[in-house]
């Protein structure tokens, strides 16, 4: 075959493939105006209020049937301890399911570490959960459409359709996804969709005695969460990934990733 023919054939093939691909892809103009104007779930975490009791983790696991003894969790609480020498030590033993009851910091394979009180400059807890991103990286990478965003902005996993490839787990910059040990599909925080869509509170927010966690409607100007997001200095985690998280934090600092 002459080279020209070869190039021609290749070009025909490539354009042919792209046409057939676009025929299979149901591009929808609605994608642009998708946002539901009435309801957009958002979450507010006040890190000053969190005491690290871990009741939110326990409540979440029980509410959503994540076995307590399995070392995965939809929400967890991290401890940050900063020292005079400028070091930041983080730990999160078993997702803080049993709360923080010891001064020893759990460094996994490196063992336990004790930072003397007089070395500590600041120390605090940061609860984490799914950010229900506006442009979720995990949904984009799902090969079969088993994970998706609802009209009110919650990212869910279809347990009957998920093939368990783990691409979404890899794609999430926040590490909130895992394989459910019993269902054997990807699992993640749903903002307790079954509770909030019936007017209830999420299990974790309800369990928090100190009001460190709050869920609300970001589109309602009178909603306490929406107000706080508007009027206070709040931050989101890892905005550099362009995922546009909807979990806002009061009292974030640079060390929190």
């Amino acid at each position: 075959m002459k080279r020209r023919d070869f190039l021609k054939n290749t070009a025909v093939f490539v354009s042919g493939v792209s046409i057939s691909l676009s025929a299979l892809e149901f591009i929808d103009p609605k994608e642009l105006l998708a946002a539901n104007p009435k309801l957009r779930w958002g979450f507010l975490v006040n890190t000053y209020k969190c005491v690290g009791c871990g009741f939110c983790v326990k409540a979440c696991k029980i509410e959503n049937d994540i076995p307590l003894e399995a070392h995965v969790t939809r929400t967890w609480v991290e401890r940050y301890v900063m020292t005079k020498s400028g070091e930041t030590i983080r730990d999160c033993p078993n997702g803080a399911l049993a709360g923080y009851t010891s001064k020893l910091l759990d460094e996994n394979a490196s063992g336990m570490r004790l930072v003397p009180d007089e070395e500590i400059t600041q120390a605090f807890f940061v609860p984490k959960l799914c950010n229900q991103c506006s442009t979720p990286a995990c949904v984009q990478v799902c090969p079969v459409g088993a994970t998706y965003q609802t009209g009110d902005g919650v990212v869910l996993v279809d347990r009957k359709w998920c093939i368990g490839c783990g691409y979404c787990i890899m794609g999430c910059p926040y590490g909130v996804r895992f394989f459910h040990p019993i269902e054997r599909v990807a699992d993640k925080c749903t903002f307790c969709y079954h509770r909030i869509s019936k007017g209830g509170n999420t299990a974790c927010a309800q369990a928090c005695p100190f009001g460190a966690r709050q869920i609300g409607n970001l589109r309602d100007p009178n909603d306490p969460v929406a107000k706080a997001v508007m009027n206070e200095r709040v931050g989101v985690l890892r905005s550099e990934y362009g995922t546009k998280p909807n979990v806002y934090y009061i009292g974030l600092n640079e060390e929190v990733r």
Binding site: E25, F26, I27, D28, K30, E31, L32, A34, N36, T47, Y48, K49, C50, V51, G52, C53, G54, F55, A59, I62, E63, A98, G99, Y100, T101, S102, K103, T121, Q122, A123, F124, F125, P136, V139, Q140, G145, T147, Y148, Q149, T150, G151, L156, D158, R159, K160, W161, T190, C192, Y193, H194, R195, S197, K198, G200, A203, A207, P209, F210, A212, G251
Partner: protein, 156 residues
């Protein structure tokens, strides 16, 4: 016979047709691009309802009031009033039908979730009265001395 060159193509076309036909039968009818568009909203619509119907396990404090009025009363007036009953007693599920009784956790582990003394200068933990669990009456359950529903030291 002269067009035998096309035969593999026919096989392929047959294969494609077969797959598309199977797809028609296999994929649920409500599968497709929904509200959020193709990138974020390509899914089986019915699954949203499945998640909404997921059974809830936790009730709330006002539910307990109906029957455990006494406990609620003392709890309400105490420093522990911020702690939901179900944090210490576990999710209500179908209580009092199923389970008939909720767990009563008398372990020290429950209390030291909040009361273990940690130095956490920039967090709410520092505002809670802390004890060193290894020093503070180590061998005895906290509830032997303190009332969990009314922990006030004066009422001890």
């Amino acid at each position: 016979m002269k067009n035998h060159v096309w035969r593999p193509l026919f096989v392929v076309l047959g294969l494609v047709a077969g797959i598309l036909l199977f797809r028609l039968v296999y994929v649920p009818a409500d599968f497709g691009t929904q509200e959020q568009g193709y990138t974020f909203g390509f899914h089986r619509l019915g699954n949203e309802q499945e998640w909404k119907d997921y059974p809830a396990k936790y009730k709330n404090n006002s539910y307990c009031t109906e029957c455990h009025d006494d406990k609620v009363k003392s709890w309400e007036a105490s420093a522990h009033a911020i702690i939901p009953c179900e944090n210490c007693h576990g999710a209500a599920f179908g209580h009092p039908d199923k389970p008939e009784k909720l767990t009563i956790d008398r372990s020290r582990d429950l209390c030291i979730r909040c009361h273990a003394k940690l130095l956490m200068p920039s967090s709410g933990r520092n505002k809670i009265a802390g004890i060193d669990s290894e020093q503070h009456n180590a061998k005895t359950e906290c509830v032997e001395c303190h009332n969990p529903h009314n922990p006030s030291l004066e009422d001890m």
